[in-house]
Amino acid sequence: MNIGKSLILLVVAAVLTYPLVPQSSDYIIHVMTLAMVYMILAMGLNIVPGFCGLLDLGYVGFYGIGAYTAGLLTIHYGLSFWVIVPLAALNGALWGALLGAPTLRLTGDYFAIVTFGFSELVVLFLTNEIWLTRGPLGLPGIQPITLNLTWLNDAWYFEFYDKTPNFYVVALLVGLVFFIMRRMEDSRLGRAWYAIREDPLAAASCGVNILNYKVIAFAISAAIGAVGGAFYARWSMFLSPDMFKFWESFLVLCMVVLGGLGNIKGALLGAVILVSLGEVLREVLSSLGLPPESRFMAYGLIMVLIMRFKPAGFFPAIASSGRSNPLLIDLQKRLAARNVPKEETRDAAT
């Protein structure tokens, strides 16, 4: 294990133990929780533009679908969070597939605009279907996440009103999504997506059914967005249609771009950086007497500059498709044993 890796593990461990420190600030825990919600979204969105090379401008639509699914199921049926997460994911995937199947045949530009229209329709629906969503008034009184372990011990029934348990729930979800992303990236599925991104015609000639794999990507991406929404609903305990406007899609896209399209760890860093920047800018802008929305000027500029000067994002592609997979490590050894000049294999490994 090298120094860089140990350092990352150390930072992750420090962040994870922070809420247990008695002097920990609620505000920082809150910001970290928010950053982790965006980590889920950024990882999920990354599948579509990052792995498949398609611009998705309506990601917030799936986030909203997940959030309202969770909120309504909680209020009307009192379902447990642990049941709701898979249901929200399924609902997200369903809408992703319904939207993707007819529109992913089209060129990327059309797809981008369709996703945008879709997310605007979601907001309009949430605003206007008052019988279901209470419209602009929002959906208050969503129960917090509960953990029912009474089957183990009668006293073990927990309600997560506090910031700390929520922090750990979302950390768990981030870990889960990260795990799934890494496994997908280094698999037949991930390779098919990369092929589509690099050259659709060559991908088809390799036997990849392009439309199918794009729809799968879009549905999985939507499902992850919906999981993020489901947590958000139970964490904030209040939802309103305003939370799911285009700005959010843009922000998540900006995180993905900043971290490098197709780079999973980059998306995590992008989320941390932009959430922190957002907090800082909110302070700075209000002290300058500017409206808080104007922070998006910075985000817009970041995106333009990155596309111009560092299209691969700020962080080098840390892993190109599962270098740490035992199969590849084994192959590398075998190649080295063939007496190939050392430089060549080392070049390849970096």
Partner: protein, 261 residues
Amino acid sequence: MTPLLEVNGISKRFGGILALTDVSFNVIEGEILGLIGPNGAGKTTMFNCIAGVYKPTSGDLVFTLGGKSQRINGRKPEKMTELGIARTFQNIRLFSALTVLDNVRIARHCRTTSNFFRSVLRTRFQRAEEKEIVDASMRWLDFVGLGHHALANASSLSYGDQRRLEIARALATEPKLLLLDEPAAGMNPKETRMLVDLIHAILDAGVTVMLIEHDMKLVMTICKRLVVLDHGTLIAEGGPKEVRENPQVIEAYLGRGAAHA
């Protein structure tokens, strides 16, 4: 004996232009068939029809596998690949941001089945399949002589090596029929000689080869049979000697080609 592929009166129209007019010929199993003709004769269009990129306007393509014949025109490229028709491209189309190995691993797609759940859970089946994919890919990379470059970036390969990688990628789909679109274009004489050996090795591996090529010397030495297109119509078919002596071909093609040779 039924031919591997029967091209039966294929026509392809783009708007007002007929790129192919009623072209018929057969591809016989185990042969190297050359498809030649001057620029714009419709050779690549023919390839694209066979590979499923274009749907022929009329006519039939009949593919025979294990004694079973089926009409295949209009199928999608991925279906053609699944069926056993692989191809390379005139302008190299590699997945250039990926490694050499990944380029070939992607080609194993149609011969493997692991889905989302198996990939995420990394089941025993999936791990075995992944190992099989790496082994098969390495086998084909070694076959074309690129094994030691497996972990390099595809874009870092030399031009000739990129062409060979494309061939390895096509072979990894386990085709019965391999379509090579100008495989020797841009190669130096040494690389071309290696290509000739490679094509013979492919034939020995039980794959039928059909190739488009402008290098007449190459075509005349390796192809037992040639099909000549001009302005979208078939003007001659037969052995190299016959074709070379066919007055129509000389007029359309070799008359000009001979000056270069």
